[in-house]
């Protein structure tokens, strides 16, 4: 999870999909998709629109149940376990569009996740304000994600980049083992994209995230941050390779990006 792409620490997969297929009626959005993510890896899933990237993330994170196949995380099958159980087992995710709690402050947004993780909701009379451990945890996550100065600001009034960061921060507040990011920089300015990625990678190290999987269109970001690239095309895995090999193959870039431009954008 470093910009210089240090090699993965281990080869044992933290997380893997085994011949996963997902059908919508007669349309097969994913077909026999198998890939693994190991400890210390930053894996990017790329592909043209309609390749099945978001469907794959949704299947992996329990939003959709696979029609066929297995999704294994830390040795257990997690297909269809649901988002709460998934969070409990140590996998969190963010969404393509900014997904926040508009009327909650940054502190409260992070406290929601921390309260889940620390199992603080069983007693409805427990004080949120006086829970020093919970508050300190929320502040720590805000600190590593660069939102410390914004702790008491209502989320809906943050800038677009900050909202995106808050969305990511709440996923980090679960102290996940693996984090899945669906276009973590979509909708933010080009200048902010790299800033967000830097914060994200630094935060991952700080909170002990063991692997990051991202869906990303921006090939500059993919090239700079990934250890490995999984390219999808029409629901199948076209390539699963190191970024050096991927970007050295013009035919591969052309097949995935559609043109020889390095940056592929959604319309």
């Amino acid at each position: 999870m470093q910009p210089d792409r240090a090699p993965a620490l281990e080869t044992t997969p933290l997380f893997e999909t085994i011949r996963v297929s997902k059908a919508y009626g007669v349309y097969l959005a994913l077909r026999d998709v198998s890939f693994q993510v190991s400890d210390g890896e930053f894996v990017s899933i790329v592909g043209p629109n309609g390749a099945g990237k978001t469907t794959l993330v949704n299947v992996v994170t329990g939003l959709l149940t696979p029609t066929r196949g297995e999704v294994r995380f830390l040795g257990g099958d997690i297909a269809g376990v649901g988002p709460v159980e998934l969070a409990r087992r140590g996998m969190s995710r963010t969404f393509q569009l900014v997904n926040i709690f508009p009327a909650l402050t940054v502190r409260e947004t992070l406290a929601v996740a921390v309260a889940s993780r620390l199992r603080r909701v069983a007693n409805p009379f427990r004080s949120l304000r006086r829970d020093d451990v919970l508050q300190a945890e929320a502040e720590r996550v805000a600190e590593v994600l660069g939102l410390r100065a914004r702790l008491d600001i209502v989320a809906s009034t943050l800038s677009q980049g900050e909202k995106k960061l808050l969305d990511i921060a709440s996923a980090f507040a679960l102290n996940p083992t693996v984090i899945l990011l669906d276009e973590p920089t979509s909708g933010v300015s080009t200048g902010d994209k790299h800033a967000i990625m830097e914060v994200l990678v630094t935060a991952a190290k700080a909170v002990g995230v063991r692997a990051i999987v991202q869906v990303e269109h921006d090939m500059d970001l993919v090239e700079r941050y990934s250890h490995r690239i999984v390219a999808l095309q029409e629901g199948s895995v076209l390539a699963d390779m190191a970024p050096e090999a991927f970007f050295a193959d013009p035919a591969m870039i052309s097949a995935v990006v559609g043109t020889r431009r390095k940056t592929m954008r959604t319309p």
């Binding site: 997904n99 909650l104 309260a115 909701v121 409805p124 809906s156 800033a195």
Partner: protein
């Protein structure tokens, strides 16, 4: 790279921060005035305050569901009915007169029924939740209305004067209601208000607000949507049941109309009138509703017309309710530049 370089477009001071938690103080201020009221008010005015206390308690619960969790129930009067009939059955049929036992039984009965009803209702949101709660309210009303032998049908059931803390009051009905019962109910209102404040300020309450704001996102940060919504539903029902007991003791009657959908509509009216966005708003709404209804009924038989018109004006011009209007007024006064000398 500096973290603060990410798209910060406005200074922190210009952004909206969390409003100060004044809701509890507003409620406690209101209760303090209520505690002093017997020194100056007539028995009639004090009798009018008892329904306010009953509705105030019920609305604390109602607003946990509506304002905090984002679920608008159109059948919440069901639980006021359960509380009222629990009091009626215990006092009239079983000879149990302890007010504390009435409260505990009503709370338990409301909680158990809410667990069963809520297990279905909270799987749905928005209009579907509203319609389901309305349907259950209507079912309960039909049960009360048709099962004459058990419930007294349209005649209802008498609620006998209870013993407060095991003590019997030998004076007249009005003296009982405006004396010991008034203070007992007020103390209960304060106690339940403090408890509800704790609930809304807890991690549990925070999870409810997260569900209201964005349930899809909440699930992915570990919020157990169904369990949290059900818990809120049950707590709100318990408050409704307790409110129902106070209402029934005040009138001396458990009536099927207590569970009728128009009564549920009144609860929604009160919450909107006071402002569901603030902690004390619904209690303020309950007070305003009770006083307004009494006033309008005393001057015209078309009081429903006036109340309906008030609701229309309220939704159009004061969507945040009375408490929202007061808050806005206070903010504008604060922001107004001082006059030159």
């Amino acid at each position: 790279m500096s973290h603060t370089s990410i798209g910060i477009s406005t200074p922190a001071t210009a952004q909206r921060t969390l409003p100060r938690p004044t809701g509890l103080w507003v409620l406690l201020g209101l209760l303090t005035i209520m505690a002093l009221l017997p020194l100056v008010a007539s028995p009639y005015a004090l009798l009018l305050m008892l329904p306010f206390i009953a509705y105030g308690i019920a609305l604390l619960g109602f607003n946990l569901l509506f304002g905090t969790t984002g679920l608008l129930s159109f059948g919440h009067a069901l639980f006021l009915g359960v509380g009222a009939y629990a009091a009626a059955v215990l006092t009239s049929k079983l000879g149990v007169l302890s007010f504390e036992l009435l409260l505990v039984t009503a709370a338990l009965a409301s909680g158990v029924i809410a667990l069963a009803v809520g297990a279905l209702c909270v799987r749905y949101t928005r209009i579907f939740f509203g319609m389901l709660t309305l349907a259950f309210g209507m079912l309960f009303h039909s049960f009360l209305f048709k099962f004459y032998g058990l419930t007294g049908g349209d005649q209802g059931m008498r609620v006998l004067r209870p013993l407060l803390l095991g003590m019997e009051w030998r004076g007249g009905k009005t003296a009982f209601l405006t004396g010991p019962f008034y203070y007992y109910a007020l103390a209960l209102f304060a106690l339940l208000g403090l408890a509800m404040w704790r609930i809304t300020q807890s991690p549990f309450g925070l999870h409810l607000r997260a569900i209201r704001e964005n349930a899809g996102k909440a699930a992915y940060v570990g919020v157990e949507i169904f369990r949290m919504r059900l818990a809120a539903f049950v707590i709100s029902a318990v408050y409704g049941g307790i409110g129902g007991v106070i209402l029934a003791v005040t009138t001396g009657l458990a009536d099927p109309e207590l569970a009728y959908w128009t009564h549920s509509g009144n609860l929604v009216f009160m919450a909107v009138l006071g402002g569901s966005g603030s902690f004390a708003g619904p209690a303020v709404g309950a007070l305003a509703f009770v006083v307004l209804q009494d006033f309008v009924m005393s001057i015209t038989q078309y009081w429903r017309f006036v109340m309906g018109g008030t609701l229309v004006l309220l939704v159009v011009f004061l969507p945040q309710g009375l408490s929202g209007a007061i808050e806005l007024f206070a903010v504008r006064r604060k922001e107004r530049p001082p006059h030159a000398a």
